[in-house]
Amino acid sequence: MSETKTYLEIRNLHASTEDTPILKGVDLTIAQGETHALMGPNGSGKSTLANVIMGHPAYEVTDGEILFRGQNLLELEPEERARLGVFLAFQYPVAIPGVSVAKFLKSAHDATHGDNKLKPAEFLKELRENIKYLEVDDSFINRYLNDGFSGGEKKRMEILQMLTLKPRFAVMDETDSGLDIDALQVVAKGVNKLAGADFGLLVITHYERILRYIHPDHLHVLIDGKIVHSGGSDLVKKLEEKGYDWVRQEFGEEVLVG
């Protein structure tokens, strides 16, 4: 594979928290324009991987590397990663009381768009369009960030942020969990608006249904901190039918013990 095409490259990634190893050698390569899905049982390390890609300070990378467009992400602070165009839609977004969605989004947009900051009026116009596109209520932008938001509203908020920041590579950590069917379609719409040649996506999910809207090029199964199996869309069906035990038996004898 030529160096230029590789978008995100994770090699032999080991990470632990409080001296407990969680990621035990993850290898994952995502090429420009591709969408990958990551599945795996609860506690297998999916969110940990997402957090490590973004640079969460609770995790220590003990081995391996993460390259994004040739740059070593592990040397960078989370905000520097964001400015390179890396985005994480959180599984559990936190609330920031007293900070309005509009103010937050403007600050985040300014922070990630260095020389291409928008004037407040232009920004607001774009924000209104995105809000409309995502079928979010107008009053949203004056509410405090995630403060008192319902589970579904928080997830829509993550997608609104993603549309606002226009990242080059995004990880969506269970953005589909707990969404009704309408909200799910909205999430898919948001993703499809960004999708294109200059975008890469890693979708973490437990359910096949989101993959019907966002068609992944590849699917990986993470068990006990390792990607034990990868495949195409047919793999999704098999997983739904047979569960993770099947993967464990087929591909992961060594992880059975632990």
């Binding site: 973004m54 640079g55 969460h56 300070p57 609770a58 602070e77 989370p78 905000e79 990663r81 964001a82 400015r83 985005f87 994480l88 959180f90 977004p93 936190v94 920031i96 009381p97 007293g98 900070v99 937050f104 600050s107 985040a108 922070a111 990630t112 405090y144 960030l145 942020q161 920041l165």
Partner: protein
């Protein structure tokens, strides 16, 4: 925490010392010292007598022990009670260049040519007021704004009528001490029907070593008048503690309104808790007239120890008292602060919004009292006291007392404690915000309601002050 941000945290940019010759009374406290202070200020006999009465009262008292504060006993004989910069020029209207430069450096220009538009400033250096700006313009409106020492000399009747009527010298230990030895502070008098055209402001600077600052401020708003007043303070960084025991009295007559804001940034000691100012302050407003209103807004960001409860006595029917506070403690600072709202008149209203932010190993306590007397009908109070903790080693306490003796009162109290989490900061950083911007966003969101109360340019200043204080304290 990076070493760079720790360095910023320790950097108190107002910690410099002005090397200036001073005229000081030897350390120690007795009736002679009080007589010397009074004589230096050219005070009338009645003033000295009042001071001496206060002193004799104070001698019989012991310091209050109920606050959630810990500090060694203060040796009152080891403090200098009067220190004034020596004047180089004989012209009373001329400000010494060194002093002017000091205040300039503190961001408080005194000279006509670059003084702040829209703000009249009284600048107090150690024990004396060195300059008051915008006087002529205020005089045209009949507004009196001068140092309390001048007021005692030039407007003795007004001072005599109001001084000590809100905070009597018998009020508490520190107020008694202040009444005995107070040196300078501001006096404002707004005549009937006048809306003061500029913000009035006093800047307090402690410079001399081992000197206590005992300021006394008195603001009187006559019927249907309005004034907005701001107070700022700093001191050099020293490893010995210094005492600041102030008394502020506000009096609002019928339909008058007084807004009093403080941005307190006294030196807070170093990160091990060495040095810093003991800030023991009695501030009280008296809504004496019908439908009068007094609002306290405070941003308490400095001082090693803060003991302060700006209060309002709501005597006039339909009067309103407000208290908006942000208190930030870092390192080993201790704050015990809050308010008292005393409802005496009918239909009186009070609002309390307190936001405590503690970081490092600091201790931050809110202490408040809402009291409704038996004859006060239809009173309302709303209190909201939130605490935010940054890091695992600090603590926050809330002591709300409610004493309602009239069943028509409606009293609401809300309190929360939250922690700025690593996850909040990470969330904001993952959206491109730097660590500093992330912290300031969380903190500003938390203290939003209070900052909203400050005049715009001061709220910007106050927000920056908080950011500076809290840099490097997460993680």
């Amino acid at each position: 925490m990076s070493t760079e941000s720790t360095a910023i945290l320790d950097d108190y940019k107002y910690g410099f010392y002005t090397d200036i010759e001073s005229d000081a009374v030897p350390k120690g406290l007795n009736e002679d010292v009080i007589a010397i202070i009074s004589a230096k200020k050219g005070e009338p006999e009645w003033m000295l007598e009042w001071r001496l009465k206060a002193y004799r009262w104070w001698l019989k008292k012991t310091p209050p022990k109920w606050a959630h504060l810990h500090y060694p006993p203060i040796d009152y004989q080891d403090i200098c009670y009067y220190s004034a910069p020596k004047k180089k020029s004989d012209n009373p209207d001329e400000i010494d260049a060194d002093l002017e430069a000091t205040f300039e450096k503190l961001g408080v220009p005194l000279h006509e040519r670059n003084r702040l538009a829209g703000v009249a400033v009284d600048a107090v250096f150690d024990s004396v007021s060195v300059a008051t700006t915008h006087r002529e313009m205020l005089a045209e409106k009949g507004v009196i704004f001068c140092s309390i020492s001048e007021a005692i000399r030039d407007y003795p009747e007004l001072v005599k009528k109001y001084l000590g009527t809100v905070v009597p010298y018998t009020d508490n230990y520190y107020a008694s001490l202040n009444s005995a030895v107070f040196t300078d502070g501001s006096f404002c008098y707004i005549p009937k029907g006048v809306r003061c055209p500029v913000e009035l402001s006093t800047y307090f600077r402690i410079n001399a070593l081992d000197t206590g600052q005992f300021e006394r401020t008195l603001i009187v708003a006559e019927e249907s008048s309005y004034v907005s007043y701001l107070e700022g303070c700093t001191a050099p960084a020293r490893d010995r503690n210094q005492l600041h025991a102030a008394v502020v009295e506000l009096i609002a007559l019928d339909n008058a309104q007084i807004k009093y804001a403080t941005v307190q940034n006294w030196y807070a000691g170093d990160k091990d808790g060495k040095g810093g100012i003991y800030n023991f302050v009695t501030k009280r407003g008296h809504c004496r007239g019908k439908k009068s209103k007094i609002s306290w807004t405070q941003v308490e960001a400095g001082a090693a120890i803060t003991w302060k409860y700006p209060s309002v006595i709501l005597e006039g029917d339909g009067s309103t008292g407000e208290f908006y506070s942000v208190a930030v403690t870092t390192n080993k600072m201790q704050a015990d602060t809050g308010t008292k709202m005393i409802h005496i008149g009918n239909n009186t209203k009070s609002t309390i919004v307190s936001k405590g932010i503690s970081a490092g190993q600091s201790v931050n306590s809110y202490r408040g009292l809402v009291q409704v007397l038996p004859d006060a009908f239809n009173c309302r109070n709303y209190s909201n006291c939130d605490s935010m903790l940054i890091g695992p080693n600090c603590s926050a306490n809330t002591f709300p007392y409610i004493e309602s003796e009239n069943s028509t009162a409606v009293i609401e109290h809300e309190a929360t404690t939250s922690r700025v989490s690593e996850d909040q900061i990470f969330y904001l950083k993952s959206r491109g915000l730097s660590e500093e911007d992330a912290i300031s966003m969380v903190v500003n969101g938390f203290a939003r309601e209070v900052f909203k109360q400050l005049p715009l340019e001061f709220s910007v200043e106050a927000i920056r002050l908080l950011e500076m204080k809290l840099e490097g304290s997460i993680g």
